[in-house]
Amino acid sequence: MLFRESSLALYRILDFGPILDSLCVSAEPQLCTICRGVLQHCNTHLETLCTQVSAQAFEYTDFKITFSISIIAYLKRLLVIGMAEEELGKAFRYKQTKDRSVIDFKEVYKWIMSPLIAKRLNVPANLDGTFLIHVSFAQREEGGGAFHENTVIQGVQNEMESFSGMLGKGAKWKAKQDWKHKKDNHANQSGAVKGAEQVISSVSKLALPLLKELDVFKSQEIAQIDLNTLMSVDCTMDNILLYGRYVKLSREVSQTPWNLGTKRMHSVQALISDNLLPIFGSKQAFLHAAGREDIDVRMLGRGRPFVMEFVNPKKSLSCQGQIEDKGLRKAINSSLVYCHEFKIVDKEFFDSLKDIEISKAKSYSCMVWVKRRITPQDCDKLSTLVSELHVQQTTPIRVLHRRSLAVREKVIHRLQATYINQHYMHICLLASAGTYIKEFVHGDLGRTTPSVGSLLESEADILQLDVTNVYDSVQSVAELPLSKLFEIEVVSDGEADDGEA
């Protein structure tokens, strides 16, 4: 163990020999009773570690490491400290006070290993890096076994409970808490890390005689363990965020994966990501879009902004060359969805994506049926009537199961109605973000007022709806004449048109 003499000072460790000697209790060839060979032989398992990192085939420019060791090592350390206190008495200066405490295994490991790994892998260490190497010397996977973290934790908790009779109220309550956790096995499985901390802190409060009685220390099996055998290396890379805009040309494609009974519907997420996953070397991707549209609503015009999050991309460097519109557009290769305007963004962009969702006005185009007979004059009257019209929308019943019941005020900025025949008309409108257009047309049983039905003094219904554009702000389009405003842009696949508004 290394103890902190005084408050932290920086050292450059040139030679690890003396440190390792002072770290490990037991001379070679025996394994150190505390770290069980992990810190003692760290330079020998360096090679294995690097091979495993290379095997996982990531591309990286720097790295950072995290380290975890079995709870057995922590418990052993508690015992050794306790025994040292007992034997040395006053001479032992390192009682667990704030500025004279034992240094955690993790820090020591990182101090020693970071430069060694950096040299071996030929990349610098960087605490703010994107590539994470996780080295673990504990058994945490499914299965059991005497060395499994959960087995050890449960064993110690059992014994703590049986000790609780001898201890005061505080310990009894702690034991009860542990017992409650024990009841539900599932909670224990996932809460293994939390349980470990609890166990360590409660064991540290035990008096030495009781401590020595714990099974963990008496068991021969555990005493002989070589933790090096439990080594596992996991590498993860920060997720890559790809921004783009998508145009949805189908009325049967949902935004995120959805199963209708047994039939798997197409989803925008799958259509975009399926062919892009190999480019990034990722296995999974998530779509975050600035707002949603219904499955039966097409998204036209310039398209809806979205961010595709690629999980654990292995090709984080080589994909950079491919991030240009034509390449990615060709890769997606779907007649139902079209994307463009790609660029890589960072996490802060999510805030602006949310901002886009709640602030952007959108223009729509829909086919409306009216119960009573209408005339072209009715259509003109409607167009002039609806200008900056404030609409009170009570949460539509079709979304009421997942949104709270409230009345939201929205604005219909402009509207243009075109007469088709006595019962049908075509409506284009510009509305604020978050307006439910279908409910604005049919009135949702009177819960949206005013509605197209009520304005025409009849019943109305909506047959088809398209989102024709997402605008940056209402001001930018306020001056446009209606014909220009509701023109539907077609973003084509041609060379000339490369994401221009």
């Binding site: 007979r373 019943i397 009421l400 199961h401 049983l445 009177g446 219904d461």
Partner: protein
């Protein structure tokens, strides 16, 4: 005169055509009722419940004499329950309900959700899970409908294990809406069944077994 006679024969035909044009509904009319489902039929499954005073008496376990029962026999107090695909339930009075059928002679003057001195209309639900709604028991009186001659109809819920999340205030403000559009704008309220639980109909079964579908309801004579 023959010419006039010929005209006479022709005239009705012309007026006929014009009448057709003025009427909103005509079979030969090219622009007839829409061939697509209305807003209600698109999202909801229509279920109806036949309610008679005898049923209510049995449910409340009231003992009544033969005479009293005979008087009340043919009174129709049917209600509808439209179940949305997201499991929310819209409910209200069926068009065959006595209050609506008699509306022309005895107009509906008021709808009140504050039955039995309970200030239900003050109840607000909050949050996504819509907590705070009145819990419904099959015998709960949801609202009272008063008519001009003083007759009051009490609407009971007939379902249990459900929470009333919305009471239609437009019907309170405009009671005639109930008579004119009882199955659409004039609905009475919306209730939900909490996640993981099931609706309990008055027949003590955990489903809608005691309720009739639209076809079954239409077959039953009024």
């Amino acid at each position: 005169m023959e010419g006039a006679a010929a005209e006479d024969i022709d005239e009705p035909a012309i007026i006929q055509a014009q009448e057709d044009k003025d009427l909103d509904m005509g079979e030969s009319d090219y622009f007839s009722e829409p061939k697509f489902d209305s807003v209600v039929d698109r999202y909801y499954t229509r279920l109806y419940k036949r309610v008679t005073p005898a049923m209510i008496s049995t449910m409340l376990e009231m003992k009544e004499s033969e005479e009293q029962l005979a008087l009340k026999e043919n009174i129709c107090l049917d209600q509808f329950y439209f179940i949305h695909s997201n499991k929310l339930v819209l409910f209200g009075l069926s068009p065959r309900h006595e209050a609506i059928v008699n509306n022309s002679q005895n107009p509906i003057t008021g709808v009140s959700f504050d039955a039995n001195k309970k200030q239900r209309s003050q109840n607000k639900v909050t949050g996504k899970s819509k907590s705070g709604g009145t819990r419904l028991d099959p015998r709960t009186i949801v609202c009272e409908i008063s008519t001009q001659n003083g007759k009051v109809y009490k609407v009971r819920s007939f379902v249990g294990n459900a929470y009333l999340i919305e009471m239609n205030q437009r019907v309170v403000q405009n009671p005639q809406l109930l008579a004119q559009k009882c199955e659409s704008d004039g609905y009475l309220g919306i209730f939900i069944v909490k996640r993981g639980e099931e609706i309990m109909s008055v027949e003590r079964e955990k489903d809608w077994a005691g309720f009739l579908s639209k076809e079954e309801y239409e077959k039953v004579s009024a």
